[in-house]
């Protein structure tokens, strides 16, 4: 096995176009999988040498977050947690302090687990990935990247350089909650991200609702957003949100919780997440 640490996007895509190449970001998924012999790549392409993957920049249109920026760095950023607390909280739920020093948004998404914590947070925030490949650069909304467990919309040689997060609306708020049953360590049974914006009168003008761990891929729940938009996010709207979320769930029934349990908790969690997002939107 070969280890490469290119310093430019072009060098990285060239390496990645080769046989058996694999991106290495924090390695908290990849190295574990290699040690347990699930994966044995021929070339490890460490993208952390590329400046664009490692920095957070902010301008009027929002944030650009490098795909290999760590969870701890997201938290330490002076304004990101104020603008997108839900997204940062979701990313900070990954693992422990040690894992936080390594794990990245890009890795969390590209590992291809439907239960990845930061993904519903990113989807709710409206994150768009900047993807570099041998043929150049393209963008894709985060909800369109993971297709099925371990299956991504990236093609050979492509990798995610960064994520674009829009500027927070004037009265905007987001939140993420996950539910873990005690029988296991780290995998969410349900994860829910909600972002919403209010007008000056407190009516919801925009919303995005996303669910993790309740289907083969993280979901953007359009009907959930519709339930909130145009309302004051009152109990009636929350009840509609709950119904929309329940309808969207297609969980697998395994030992991590029965189908009914997951659907029920997803509905409850969505309401609670929306309430937190609402509180936050009202405060700014």
């Amino acid at each position: 096995m070969r280890y490469e640490k290119p310093t430019t996007v072009e060098a990285a895509t060239a390496l990645l176009a080769g046989q058996g190449a694999r991106v290495l970001a924090g390695g908290t998924d990849l190295l574990v999988q290699m040690r347990s012999r699930v994966l044995s790549p021929d070339v490890l392409v460490d993208i952390k040498g590329i400046d664009a993957t490692r920095k957070i920049t902010k301008d009027a249109s929002g944030y650009t977050i490098g795909a290999a920026v760590t969870g701890a760095e997201l938290k330490e950023h002076p304004t990101l947690s104020k603008d997108w607390p839900g997204l940062v909280e979701a990313a900070n739920l990954i693992g422990s302090t040690q894992v936080q020093g390594r794990c990245s948004l890009g890795g969390n998404l590209c590992n291809g687990s439907p239960a990845a914590d930061s993904v519903p947070g990113m989807i709710a925030a409206g994150a768009v990935a900047t993807i570099a490949g041998p043929k150049g650069t393209r963008t894709l909304p985060v909800e369109d990247i993971m297709l099925a467990p371990r299956k991504l919309a990236l093609t050979a040689g492509e990798f995610i350089v960064s994520f674009k997060i829009p500027a927070r609306p004037a009265h905007g708020g987001d939140a993420y909650l996950r539910f873990i049953p005690r029988t296991e360590m780290d995998i969410a049974v349900v994860g829910c991200g909600v972002a919403l914006a209010l007008d000056a009168g407190g009516t919801c003008t925009a919303a995005r609702v996303s669910l993790g761990a309740v289907a083969a891929r993280p979901l953007l729940v359009e009907d959930g957003a519709k339930a909130l938009i145009g309302t004051k996010v009152d109990d009636a709207a929350l009840a509609k949100l709950e119904a929309a979320v329940r309808a969207a769930c297609k969980p697998i029934d395994d030992k991590r919780g029965t189908v009914e349990f997951r659907i029920d908790v997803a509905g409850t969690l969505a309401k609670r997440t929306a309430k937190i997002a609402l509180e936050r939107a009202r405060k700014v």
């Binding site: 049953p181 296991e184 030992k255």
Partner: protein, 771 residues
Amino acid sequence: MTETIAYTGRIEDERLATGRGRYVADLRLPRLAHAFTVRSVYSHAKIRSIDTAAAKAAPGVLAVLTGADLAADGIGDLPCGVELPKSDGQKAHQAKRPVLARDRVRFVGECVVLIVAESVEQAEAAGELVEIDYEPLDAVADVEPALASGAPAVWDEVPDNIAYVWKKGDNDTFEKAAAGAAHVVRLTSHVSRVTACSMEPRGALGLIDDEGRYVIHASTQGPFNMRPTLAGLFKVDQSKVRILAGDVGGSFGMKSGAYPEDVLVLWAAKRLGRPVRWISERRESFLSDDHGRDVHIDAELALDKDGKILGLRGKFDVNIGCYLSGRSLFMIGNLGGIAGVYRIPTIVASVRGIFTNQQTSAPYRGAGRPEATYAIERLIDLAARKMKIDPYQLRLRNLVPPTAMPYDTGFTFVYDCGEFEGNMTGAAELADQAGFEARRAESAKRGKLRGLGIANPIEVAGGPFAKPGKDYSSIRVSSDGTVTLNTGVMSVGQGIETMMSYLVAERLGVSVDKVRYVQGDTDLLPGGRGNGGSSSTGVGGACVAITLDNTIAKGREIAADMLEAKPDDIEFADGHFRLGGTNRAVTLFEVAEHAEKANDDGFTAAGEFQPPSVTYPNGCHMCEIEIDPDTGALEIVRYTIVEDIGTVINPTLARGQIHGGVAQGVAQAIGEKLIYDAESAQLSTGSFMDYMIPRAHDLPNINIRTREVPTKVNSLGAKGVGEAGTVGSLAATINAVCDALSPLGITHIEMPATPARIWQAIENAREAKAA
């Protein structure tokens, strides 16, 4: 104690926390070879053939060995030794655990082939080249299918899968009591199967020393238990086997016997003429460490109209897995605890060991005690609920008072002392039981269900009951200014090193850093209890106290010689032997110097202690929880214990033991469980991804008060503390969950009380109400 030295924390912590501990994996030896075992992937299968040719040819491989090679070398199976009858009255089938499976495998993870190579990686890689041709057999996946008619047999010799039966008490007397009772409540429940998850996995390093002796460095809690087993298998005298346990990182009963891998490293070392080490991978630990608990309980409690207990009957089916040994009998030896702290006129109980195609089960922290306490304490709650009596009051009504001591429960145990009502009132105060209803109402306002659970554990310590085990220790005072203590009990991380060193330092009047603590070497003492049964302080510590007496007596003789006086006239205090009424004195270390010049032994003394009887630590646990009914999520909001462990020798270490014990019991109550697939008997919770181990935030701050009622069984007055936390916490936690759910008409919930299970119970209750 003559003097008290300020306690400045655990002596061993700096060493252990900075990576300077000496665990088996830390040993560096020249020419060390590494072992890997190929394990069965089937829970039940015949082995048709094993092809080792490719593995033997793999790089770095030194040996590839099978059960046939073991047989050729005349090494038999691990002993069974169980004399109890089977269901047909015949003596139990000696279902011995083989070191390597021969013609049949009986659980997933059983050792089939041993590979020794220059490196672990090479051994593991060669393991993948071994081809084993299996003929799968129907598996006995659990107790219920094991007992079903027409079930496959784990052992052909035991067609009904019942390994042993045991009974005590008179069933007719119980039937009569029940017939005349106002209330009879029944508990059918399963105490789940769990695994110890020791922080240091099992491991062993075998070598043959210059004298040709078998030497094993092992991660074990029972060096002196292991020695006869290994000597027997290698057909040598016990003096030809030396067991060395260095630092051990957790054991909990799981490391109390000899395992196949212990035999394998010694056998391979003998064959290869090189030291051989095996260290368990975590995934191997899940499969191949002896499992704990897994007891199906069917118990009844009869009470009169005022709530006075009239009788108790309990049936316990223990899933012992696929092999039988003395370790499979944990439920019997410690079952006496079902009498609880109550007057129960008639108790009858039976225990059956059931074979399944699962890993063998063995003692696990508490070893039958938590199960026994769980049975009686759940029954009392069920009765209280049925009779609409406050569970606290119902307990008070039935307590054995201090005036009744010593108290014969009529079911094995005779309690020497205890003030049970004091435990309860103390816990009620500390837990602010009076304020509970207000807290419950406040939770309800937030949409939460709050519950309070009580348990009064009492457990046997320093046993076994029939004949407590003996411990040995020795002390050497050296002219270099040190005191070396060898103990027969041992630390597996609890701080025994500290506790013992302070005992020695205080008594001999030296500073703690002058005491060298040595444990776990079978060459140094005639025997020793190792670790287990909450006996390190009550038996081991008391033994050290005796050895200290002997040391001082010996010192007085030598000092008398030095001071030309009679030993009787010599007084010992503050590290000095003084001729009474004079200022003529010699120090402890001057005495050592004198002795070293006079004879080879120097200033040494030994001691032994066999307690005349066992002790009974007891207490009252109160667990307060809050449930989110929408998700089933549970939070333990308060945990309070008043525990009578007799005289407390070191409060910090005692609390640490109680904390850890509670964590283990609570974790089992709310999440830990090994699950085997119902068809294939494959372990489906074989990693920390699937097996819940509690995190700090799963546990509350534990409020502990000790209440010292010293025992007279040993000179220290100590009753033992290692298991106390676990014994009460299973019952207290489940009682709390049931209390919280009781407004919904839910009377019982099985452990682990996971969110999904609680949610389901709530759903079912709501549906039942709606219907």
